[in-house]
């Protein structure tokens, strides 16, 4: 049973959980959103600062389990500094991994620490935890950026 758990709770996840990156709410920002996981009550308030098409900052205040906290930290690492379109691509890649029920092999070049979440995809009840802040980020970024800008770049 420990193996099972270890597949879920990778060291990387526990590290991010204990020492989350980019935590806190900062200025400036163009959009702030508040997302909750209705099932368990986990919450995140998240701000996005986009400057000249680049995700310049993601700041947040979040309450939740190790998976959701670590996922928020990894997400911030991954998207900060990236052009919006590229960041959206990473979001899509992470989404595909999470919805793959454990059958998708993650690409470390794209997802970096995010590959540690491959094990989460086998625990359907935890997928929502891992996705909470990614969904919040996408929502906020879509608000922060004029929609046709994102759309056209996404192609």
């Amino acid at each position: 049973m420990s193996n099972e758990l270890d597949a879920l709770y990778q060291e990387i996840i526990l590290d991010h959980y204990k020492h989350p990156h980019h935590q806190g709410l900062r200025e400036p920002f163009e959009a702030e959103v508040h997302h909750v996981n209705p099932t368990c009550g986990d919450e995140v308030t998240l701000r996005v600062h986009v400057d000249d098409g680049v995700v310049t900052d993601v700041s947040y205040d979040a309450v939740g389990c190790s998976i959701s906290q670590a996922s928020t930290s990894v997400m911030a690492d991954l998207v900060i500094g990236k052009p919006v379109a590229e960041a959206m691509g990473i979001h899509q890649e992470f989404l595909t991994l999470m919805q793959g029920k454990g059958t998708v092999v993650p690409d470390e070049d794209v997802l970096e620490d995010g590959i540690a979440f491959a094990g989460v995809a086998k625990f359907p009840a935890r997928v929502k935890c891992a996705l909470l802040s990614w969904m919040a980020w996408k929502d906020a970024t879509t608000q922060a950026v004029p929609s046709d800008a994102t759309a056209s770049k996404e192609i």
Binding site: P38, P124, A125, R126
Partner: protein, 418 residues
Amino acid sequence: MDGLLPELDVIRKDFPILERTFDNGQPLVYLDSANTSQKPQVVIDTMVDHLERHNANISRAMHQLGAESTEAFEGARDKVATFIGAPDRDEVIFTKNATESLNLVANTLAWATGDLAVGEGDEVVITEMEHHSNIVPWQLLTQRKGATLRWFGLTEDGRLDLSNLDELINERTKVVSLTWVSNMLGTINPITQIARRAHEVGAIVVVDASQAVPQLPVDVAASGADLLAFTGHKVVGPTGIGVLWGKRAVLDQLPPFHGGGEMIETVRMDISTYAGIPHKFEAGTPPIIEAIGLGAAVDYLGHIGMEAVHAHEQAITGYALEGLATVPGLKVLGPLEARERGGAISFEVEGVHPHDIAQVLDSRGIAVRAGHHCAKPAHARFGVQSSTRMSSYLYTTPSEIDALVEGLEYTRSYFKLG
């Protein structure tokens, strides 16, 4: 006989109750499927397996049993969505029966704001052949909101009188709600044509598909309906489960129905926010086992194929119409062509009251329904209080129809009718 299901004997073996014989030695001849259908073993076994091995509450439970239960429940939603051609699985709302589905719509419309709101001067249109479950909710809505209830009348041969279609459905019409297949007359209504007119004037279309989903291949997206209701126990599924399908755009506009667990996003003492569809309309612990049973039921029907089920029903209905025509004094209410009707046939026999007919048939093991079949206005339209109704399904055999016809002959002789 053309159109009968090829392996009817094998299909009958799937339904344990069909082996039932009564105390007086008579075997069961079940001709009351429009009232409720019988259940194949696979539906029963699926429910039992879940109860004995996987039972847990859903969504909220994160443990293994909870995950298994959630997967089975949400899997049933996928199956139903596929079965009725729903473009989006989240558009499938689980209710307790068709009646709740229809009331859900009428009740949320009562509190709706914006385009969907129903108020003074607005009109709701139904038909004279509706089941009470598609009449009373609209009476309550229109009475409470000061709107007007109007309805299509019926022609002598039991069809909708569409001569005043354009007047009846007009700029004031907010909702048109009608049955796809009548549970009393058997009539199949031209819902797509009526929906077209309703959409022209901006009304939403609610279809009561309680008798259609069991009998016809149903494609909700092509039907013209904005919202569509049916009930699990008539599609070889269990009681306690119904379905409301609706277009996302319409469902999203409606306010929540019941308040409680599962339908919320967040709750504070002073105010709450709500989840998206389907959960917004599924407050409380849903009928979990029942949804799973329904999933197995639509799988079963899907496996046989609804085209084949429909052909079987038409063959049996045609044979029954022929047989009934040989009984002196018998008059069928509704269309006389099998091709234009569903498998429920209501009739009168001169000189014997429907209860007495049903009683005599019952003494021979033949189960039919006698009464108003929850369609009092349609009975009133034809000047009768009640009728006798036989209704077949995919397990009905021609020899069961023969037994019915013989039973009716016997009834006439028992009551000494010439």
